[in-house]
């Protein structure tokens, strides 16, 4: 087990009478590509929202690199190196693809009202650097030719690539992907998974919620399974295949994967 980079201890979240997430304690190993699986309503997205600060837990803690980050807002967590993408992509629609990506890096001098006027030269130099880096990242994500397009006009799969390109600009250590393959053309899924694997080899840790079993079994390890808000399985894909109880819980019926 590699050193954990992201952990939860006794994480719970209630919505009224519903225990959406109950006593979840997991460790995400540094450099892994951890798959988070489970049937609809198992609490995967709630766990994601708790990890990324979109929701505050009812009880329990979240640790990032051993530091307690429970309840920190998403903008703080991004600055600490924890990034996310959305199940339904959220591009800045009436902005160019390039602008979407150039927005992301934190602490830009020109983001302050006076920056443009008081530190003109510095902003210009920063922009040139950001622009070059953004184009590099877009080329890596195969979006280079779309740099000048409005982000609202690109395809669903390209939006997923764009979201990943955006978070890469912040150089996060941990990236949480919410259903990257959902609603994406299969050819584009290949591209996306290929890029994720490349980044993973370069040392980035991924946590991926995914329903596509080919993606999960072929690319993620370890797997963590949730059902009814609790962790019911934690192990390798091979162990998952052999775990009939998991498959029963997951799909309701035993299946061959």
């Amino acid at each position: 087990m590699p050193e954990p980079v992201l952990s939860t201890r006794g994480l719970s979240r209630r919505f009224g009478a519903l225990n959406a997430v109950e006593d979840v304690s997991i460790d995400i190993g540094a450099g892994t590509m951890t798959g988070l699986i489970g049937p609809n309503g198992a609490g995967k997205s709630t766990v994601f929202n708790l990890l990324t600060g979109a929701l505050k837990p009812s009880t329990g803690t979240v640790l990032l690199n051993g530091r307690d980050v429970t309840g920190l807002a998403p903008d703080r967590l991004f600055a600490l190196g924890l990034a996310r993408t959305f199940q339904i992509p959220r591009p800045f629609a009436r902005m160019s693809v390039l602008e979407n990506v150039m927005l992301a890096p934190p602490h830009q001098t020109g983001e302050r009202l006076g920056g443009r006027f008081l530190a003109w030269g510095r902003v210009r130099a920063e922009e040139a650097r950001l622009r070059a880096r953004a184009l590099e990242v877009l080329d890596f994500m195969t979006l280079g030719p779309l740099a000048d397009h409005p982000a609202g006009k690109i395809s669903g799969g390209q939006r997923k690539l764009l979201e990943l390109a955006r978070v890469l600009m912040g150089d996060p250590a941990v990236i949480l992907l919410d259903e990257p393959a959902a609603g994406v053309h299969p050819a584009l899924t290949e591209t996306l998974i290929g890029k994720i694997e490349t980044l993973n080899r370069q040392g980035k840790t991924f946590v991926i919620i995914e329903h596509d079993m080919d993606v999960v079994m072929g690319h993620c390890a370890p797997l963590i399974a949730l059902a009814e808000g609790r962790v019911i399985f934690h192990g390798t894909p091979a162990e998952a295949r052999a775990n009939t109880a998991l498959l029963d819980a997951y799909l309701g019926v035993p299946v061959d994967v």
Binding site: T52, A54, A73, P74, D75, R76, F78, A79, A83, R84, F86, R90, P91, F92, A93, R94, M95, S96, L98, E99, N100, M102, L103, A104, P106, Q108, T109, G110, E111, R112, L113, G115, R116, F117, V123, R124, E126, E127, A128, R131, L135, G144, P145, A147, D148, P150, R166, V167, G170
Partner: protein, 322 residues
């Protein structure tokens, strides 16, 4: 002939002053997505602030500090800034329609306060007693009005250039991102609440500057100048011209002010005598029709927002043919 020219100068001065206010609203709505339904309040804060600070002492109400014109204008802008900051801090969490309702309420409250608090700014009688700057040297005639127009146009161009620089900068990029999707912006480490407040105050200061110019142009301001009608006129100008486009905002200001003036003239001339009393209301209906018609027919406005590719060296990219 001189009558026509003189009228055109008068018309252009008012249109240019309103165009400055429209530019302020464009920063709010066009760039940041802040639905400000109380433009008249910030315009009014600037007008009242400038006249109270720069005017001669008056019996019965505050003000009459006789500050130099630029200082009085800056004071008016500061008044608008303080008001926007207070409103902004209180309504920071409100978005869209809720912010519109809250700011509309602020504008109505401000107008009511000005109408009733005689000790503060003359109540319904308004504030008079402003000595127009350089009047001794230039007199009161056509030359003065012409030079005042030139001064207003210089301010308009300066505000335009300031905003163009601003929205082309990383700050402007941040504003657009917040307008498009606040949740996504937060997930990328941005702090929308703070940025929205900055944009709100900045836009309000520009509206206050327009109000200050307006008040000093007439050397008079009263609650009649800050009715909700003004807010709707300025909105119509932005929507017709093109939200998100500063040139559109200026174009819209001149077009709508032209249409408003022309319709008032036409109604007073051709409408039956018994309808004369209602020309103001008819114009009000016309403004509403223009807004609705524009939103149905061409919601992006006459000059739509241009996609910003990147601020510096943006043209080089297109030649690479990536």
């Amino acid at each position: 002939m001189i009558g026509v020219v003189s009228y055109l100068v008068f018309f252009a001065t008012v249109a240019a002053i309103l165009a400055i206010a429209v530019l302020g609203l464009n920063l709010h709505w066009g760039n940041t997505g802040l639905f400000n339904g109380g433009v008249a309040a910030f315009f009014g804060a600037g007008a009242y602030g400038t006249l109270l600070l720069g005017g001669t002492p008056q019996d019965g109400h505050l003000g009459g500090f006789g500050l130099a014109y630029p200082a009085a204008l800056l004071g008016g802008m500061a008044a608008a800034a303080v008001m926007a900051w207070l409103v902004g801090v209180l309504t920071l969490r409100l978005r869209h329609d809720y912010l519109a309702i809250a700011t509309f309420g602020v504008a109505v409250a401000f107008e009511t306060l000005m109408r009733n608090a005689e000790w503060l700014a003359g109540g319904a009688k308004g504030v008079r007693g402003f000595e127009r700057p350089l009047r001794d040297a230039l007199g009161d005639g056509f030359l003065y009005n012409l030079l005042f127009l030139v001064a207003v146009l210089v301010v308009l161009v300066a505000v335009y250039l300031f905003l163009e620089r601003l929205i082309g900068s990383p700050f402007g990029r941040l504003l657009r991102a917040i307008r498009e999707d606040e949740t996504a912006a937060r997930s990328l480490g941005k702090t929308p609440a703070q940025v929205r407040l900055t944009a709100f105050v900045t836009g309000a200061v520009i509206m206050g500057l327009a109000g200050g110019l307006y008040g000093t142009f007439y050397a008079f301001v009263s609650p009649q100048d800050i009715l909700p009608t003004l807010t709707f006129q300025i909105w119509a100008m932005l929507i017709v011209g093109g939200a998100g486009n500063n040139r559109g905002a200026i174009l819209g200001a001149f077009l709508i002010w032209g249409a408003w003036t022309a319709s008032g003239w036409a109604l007073s001339r051709f409408a039956p005598v018994e309808a004369q009393l209602y020309t103001g209301s008819v114009q009000f209906v016309l403004i509403g029709l223009v807004i609705v018609g524009m939103l149905l027919w061409r919601p992006e406005g006459l000059l739509p927002e241009r996609l910003v590719v990147s601020q510096s060296g943006s043209s080089s990219r297109t030649q690479e043919g990536v």
